[in-house]
């Protein structure tokens, strides 16, 4: 351990493992440690006994829930957009080779008290009960415009310079109603609040295109895919990548104290009386709490059920977005459900998650609209956890602290944080222009 490393990474959450992998591939000498005796930190997947322990429940799980080891319950449940940033990172690094994916059955949105399949194309718009007859036609025109939009072909721009006009301008050009705007912005473009409406429309249009392209890719009922055995496989896959490129792994290392020189610059990490020297430290906020501040709280419920969520066409895996406006809230609520069909629970069992940015101290009350659409549940765990953001200047202290995982049910914000950390650490950009059309699935 008393060697010198380019980078010491603390915590084996997904973000830290992706960074560790990318840095090792770059030829940097990486030491990766975790205080726990398992991979994944906050983004691990737990079996039933571990879940019981984690929520401080007395005695052991009841027998009716089945075998503990057949459970892989994500602590940060999220789906992956089939054409999204995480898939690009997975293919770019070849970590896909370690994983098996399966398409997610459904993408739904909550509107006026009901769940509806999210329409993402002109054809689906015409079929969707979300809109009245005339609105369907307007939405269809809007979707055709987005599908045909090509940044490099001005003819497809219909006279709108997306770097100048706002998303609101584009939507009003097509005369779309508030309810329609709500599901397009939150369930298709996956914005978490309405501030996008007053931003340049480029990002907005790109996000809808990614959704539609992802949907087309695997002929599933949603644009999402999810790994068999749960998301805990992802950090493990990237950790293996790092190890294959020479990274050193140590789990179960207590303390992991970052050491600084007299100028406050990180120079190493001490654990069990030994200090490993390094030039840079990468970690999650729990390893350097003094360099992070609380920016919010996530309220969530984890539920074990014996059935799929009602009104989702029997989907064995599904995302349902409940846009803020539909609930008179400041932030969206997310429902995520997966099951034995992705090997995360014993046969016949489903695991549903309801989460949102907490606005009160009562998750039970706050999460009720999401809980209400689940139907009967066997077991529920409520929790509120804090979200942190780094406050340090990494030019000065050589520390690179990740931001906590948010309440969203997809990875786009996770990957954006990782890529920007990578750029800060190395001064380089990750080139993610992988050939997604060549990359496809084998069964």
């Amino acid at each position: 351990m008393d060697e010198e490393y380019d980078v010491i990474v603390l915590g084996t959450g997904l973000k830290e493992c992706i960074l560790s992998g990318l840095l090792s591939v770059d030829g940097l000498k990486v030491l990766h440690m975790d205080r726990n005796d398992y991979y994944g930190g906050e983004s691990t997947s737990l079996n039933l006994v571990q879940l019981w322990k984690r929520f401080g429940k007395e005695d052991t799980p009841p027998e009716r829930l089945g075998l503990s080891k057949e459970y892989n319950v994500d602590m940060v449940p999220k789906f992956m957009m089939a054409n999204g940033a995480l898939i690009r990172v997975l293919i770019h690094t070849n970590v896909t080779k370690y994983l098996n994916f399966k398409a997610v059955d459904g993408g739904f949105v909550y509107s006026k008290g009901k769940t509806h399949k999210v329409p993402a194309t002109d054809v689906e718009a015409l079929k969707s009960p979300l809109m009245g007859l005339f609105e369907k036609r307007r939405a269809r025109k809007f979707f055709i415009y987005v599908q045909d939009y090509d940044e490099s072909d001005p003819k497809s721009h219909e006279g709108l310079d997306l770097n100048k006009v706002t998303a609101r301008d584009v939507l009003s050009k097509y005369g779309l109603e508030d309810n329609t705007v709500d599901f397009i912005g939150h369930a298709l473009a996956l914005y978490r609040d309405d501030s996008y409406l007053d931003q340049p429309a480029t990002d907005f249009v790109k996000r809808i295109k990614i959704y539609a392209e992802s949907l087309a890719r695997f002929q599933g009922g949603s644009p999402f895919i999810y790994p068999l055995y749960g998301l805990g496989e992802l950090p493990q896959g990237f950790a293996r990548l790092s190890a294959v490129y020479g990274g050193t792994y140590m789990l179960n290392k207590p303390e992991c104290k970052v050491e600084f020189d007299e100028n406050g610059k990180a120079i190493g990490v001490t654990s069990e009386g030994e200090t490993a020297k390094c030039k840079k430290v990468v970690c999650d906020p729990s390893y350097l709490p003094e360099k992070a501040k609380k920016v919010g709280r996530v309220a969530r419920a984890i539920c074990i059920m014996n059935h799929p969520i009602p009104n989702t066409n029997d989907s064995h895996s599904v995302q349902i977005i409940l846009p803020q406006k539909q609930l008179q809230r400041k932030s969206d609520m997310y429902v995520f459900c997966c099951s034995y069909s992705h090997n995360v629970a014993p046969k016949g069992k489903f695991i549903a998650f309801v989460s949102t940015e907490a606005e009160t101290d009562q998750p039970e009350v706050e999460l009720k609209p999401g809980m209400d659409i689940l139907g009967p549940v066997e077991e529920t765990f409520f929790e509120i956890y804090d979200r942190f953001e780094p406050t340090n200047q990494n030019e000065d202290d050589g520390c690179f602290v990740s931001t906590s995982y948010d309440a969203t049910t997809h990875f786009e914000s996770t990957v954006i944080d990782v890529l920007s950390m990578y750029t800060k650490i190395t001064g380089k950009e990750v080139d993610l222009t992988v050939d997604l059309s060549a990359a496809s699935a084998t069964e």
Binding site: T96, Y98, N100, F101, P227, Q236, R240, V244, Y249, E443
Partner: protein
């Protein structure tokens, strides 16, 4: 997982055992026919694929090395996931490495699938003059624990092909369909063509 179709079998094989036992050397000898006196970890290889033609089947082994994660007991559960075969290696000149091999057998019985084909390899058999672990002792242990045993040398190549071929011979020829298989996202069209003929 081993999947069968027209006697084409795909199987994941994992190497286990303490650092220095010669796991990477065994793989390198088998896959590339090489031996390096100062073997660095094989950088950049996710795993090696090797196709073995047997009289009754073609077996494609996907061979996973530990990538050094065994050093501080940090192998991830995904390493064992779906493995149908394992080679647990120890160094015949090192008693401790044999004791640790037994620990790996226990670990495998906890983590791995119960029908796994497991081999115990007493490696560095070329170093007879420094032997510390008697072949009889290892053989007896292997028999009690349902493993098959061979002494190997990655240096001289003795028994290296044999142990991999013996595993291939012992793999179940037909397996019940696994829980609805997922898809592996691949990068190159040729890979897709290759693997699409494996499953029916």
């Amino acid at each position: 997982m081993a999947t069968a179709g027209n006697s084409n079998i795909n199987a994941k094989l994992v190497l286990l055992g303490d650092m220095g036992a010669g796991k990477s050397s065994l793989v390198l000898r088998f896959v590339k026919g090489q031996f390096l006196e100062f073997q660095e970890s094989t950088i950049g290889a996710a795993f090696f694929s090797q196709t073995l033609a047997l009289s009754d089947a073609t077996v494609k082994l996907e061979i996973w090395d530990t990538a050094g994660q065994e050093r501080y007991h940090s192998l991830a559960p995904m390493y064992y996931r779906g493995a149908s075969a394992a080679i647990i290696a120890y160094d015949i000149t090192n008693t401790e490495s044999f004791e640790r091999a037994k620990k790996w057998v226990d670990e495998l019985q906890k983590q791995g699938n119960p029908n796994m084909v497991t081999a115990l390899a007493g490696n560095k058999a070329d170093l007879e003059e420094n032997r510390k672990v008697a072949a009889e002792e290892a053989k007896a242990y292997a028999e009690v624990n349902g493993l098959f045993f061979m002494e190997t040398s990655a240096k001289t190549a003795v028994n290296v092909n044999d142990i991999f071929y013996e595993i291939a011979r012992r793999l179940p020829r037909a397996q019940p369909a696994q829980n609805p298989g997922g898809m592996i996202l691949t990068n190159t069209p040729s890979e897709i063509a290759q693997s699409s003929n494996c499953c029916s």
